[in-house]
């Protein structure tokens, strides 16, 4: 019988019995697979949450810009009107509007409270601008603004957006890297456990070879056991981790990162893939270890 995954999953009581009952390697394999799957669920959640965060920050800040106008009070309205007129004729600008006093008060409220006398303060006026596609020439716009409204400064959010998006992107990469490391560590641990089991069972393997067992038969007996142990352990680890993720507080409207750590929609299906993937890693690792051990025997 060929050593394939379907053949492996088919029950074979006789082949199962030739390998002695599990020792510490059984617990080690199940525990390793469970612990790694548990960590993998959180790494996956981190990666997905980082991705969502990067997209949210990028989409929230991309396509918008702010023009801040600081001028003597008597020139302020004139400069606002000039800038709005200028923007209405600028290619690449979809819309532009000046924030009113209430909106500016709302922006400052988190820092100064609700009773701030905005009217009495020499605050700059803000113009919110939406970019069209294709976008505008920011360098050209800055030059025009400095010529026609000297108090106007264009802030296209680049200096805010870039590091935030980069940070979120790197967090997502770290999450992916963590998953790879977890898969590698799982393979290494299961290979070590399989090697220990194979070494401990060398007399059994010699007997099997002596009575005419083919390599595939012997390998299958070990691989099947380790694969099923890994599958079981990873299943338990994944389940516990998914319950843990599900119990995390929900994301609030502000989209705070830690409260947004979790899965959304079809994303909940991704962790379900971890147990079969762990079993696949165990299958490959044990198969490699078993064939390597058998090569040294006649």
């Amino acid at each position: 019988m060929k050593l394939t995954l379907p053949a492996l999953l088919a029950p074979d009581r006789q082949a199962d019995r030739v390998v002695p009952p599990s020792g510490f390697t059984a617990q080690l394999t199940s525990f390793t697979a469970g612990a790694m799957a548990f960590l993998a669920v959180f790494a996956l959640a981190l990666s997905l949450a980082s991705g969502r965060l990067a997209e949210r920050w990028a989409s929230a800040l991309a396509g918008t810009a702010t023009i801040r106008i600081s001028a003597p009070p008597e020139q302020l309205d004139t400069q606002v009107a000039t800038v709005l007129a200028l923007l209405s004729t600028t290619p690449g600008v979809a819309s532009a509007r000046a924030l009113d006093t209430a909106e500016q008060r709302a922006l400052l409220e988190p820092w100064f409270g609700p009773d701030l006398p905005v009217d009495a303060l020499p605050l700059p006026r803000l113009i919110e601008m939406t970019e069209a596609s294709p976008g505008y020439d920011s360098q050209g716009l800055r030059l025009r603004l400095s010529a026609e409204a000297p108090g106007a400064v264009l802030d296209d959010h680049t200096r805010w957006r870039r590091p935030m998006a980069q940070a979120a992107e790197r967090l997502r990469l770290l999450g992916g890297l963590s998953l790879l490391l977890i898969a590698g560590a799982t393979a290494a641990m299961i290979t070590l456990a399989a090697n220990a089991a194979l070494s401990a069972n060398l007399p059994v393997i010699r007997v099997l070879r002596l009575v005419g067992a083919k390599d595939a038969y012997i390998v299958r007996a070990f691989v099947r056991r380790f694969t099923l142990r890994a599958l079981t352990g990873a299943g338990i680890g994944t389940l516990i981790a998914m319950i843990g993720v599900a119990l995390l507080p929900r994301a609030d409207e502000a989209g705070a990162f830690l409260t947004g750590l979790g899965f959304q929609g079809l994303g909940w299906l991704l962790p379900v893939l971890l147990p079969p993937l762990t079993a696949l890693v165990a299958f490959a690792a044990t198969r490699y270890a078993a064939f390597r051990t058998l090569k040294g025997l006649t």
Binding site: Q14, P20, R206, V207, V211, A213, K214, L294, T298
Partner: protein, 228 residues
């Protein structure tokens, strides 16, 4: 049986990395023959048997097993050939976690022929272990283990039986019992090669059947005693 010999050595030499243990050995085991292999300890009796069932490959010459060159055999070929060769060691190994009956039927299990195990009870009775079918190997005596190994070796009805000092751990009475079983197998047409230094056993066998005695001396095999 296809050829005129089941196992053939042609100018075979073997060394473990040092000096040659066997040199220029030529021998053919004809179907149904009974051979004893003698020689002092360390002369190479066990090595000779291991060459005969492809546990070792010759460093010179050619070993043919069922007309196939052992050096050209794949690992699966070796496994298949061992289903036609029953091997009994002095310190026979079993799967200690499985009962005796399961150990005896192990060759059938690995060959996916468990349906052929219906004669197990008769086989165990034949080797005198009928009441120990459920016993675990560690609980068996030396003689019981040797007979269990013999039962395991013949359950596939092999063409050849190779026994390496099978009576080494047995008292005389038990040795005779095992010899009787080997003689019966020979009369069934099996090819048998027994490595032993027990001359009394050889004399006893030669009184019952025409066994040839080979001796390893000075790295070579020659007919010994009355066979010379």
């Amino acid at each position: 049986m296809g050829g005129l010999q089941v196992i053939a050595f042609e100018n075979v030499g073997f060394n473990y990395g040092g000096g040659e243990l066997l040199s220029d050995v030529t021998l053919r085991l004809a179907p149904g023959s009974f051979h004893f292999l003698t020689g002092p300890s360390g002369a190479g009796k066990s090595t000779f048997l291991k060459l005969a069932y492809a546990e070792l490959r010759p460093t010179a010459g050619r070993v043919s097993i069922f007309d196939r060159d052992a050096r050209m055999m794949t690992r699966d070929d070796v496994a298949m050939s061992r289903r036609r060769i029953g091997v009994v060691h002095q310190d026979c190994q079993f799967l200690d976690h499985l009962p005796l009956a399961t150990n005896v039927t192990l060759p059938l299990t690995v060959a996916n022929r468990t349906g052929d195990a219906q004669d197990l009870t008769a086989l165990l009775d034949w080797v005198g272990l009928g009441k120990l079918a459920d016993a675990l190997p560690p609980s068996l005596s030396g003689g019981e283990r040797q007979r269990a190994a013999l039962a395991r070796a013949i359950i596939m009805s092999p063409d050849v039986i190779l026994a390496d000092e099978p009576t080494g751990n047995l008292d005389w009475e038990m040795s005779l019992r095992l010899l009787t079983l080997l003689v019966e197998l020979s009369r069934m047409g099996k090819t048998i090669l027994v490595a032993t230094h027990d001359m009394n056993l050889i004399r006893q066998a030669k009184s019952q059947l025409a066994a040839r005695v080979l001796r390893i001396q000075n790295r070579r095999i020659q007919l010994a005693g009355a066979d010379l």
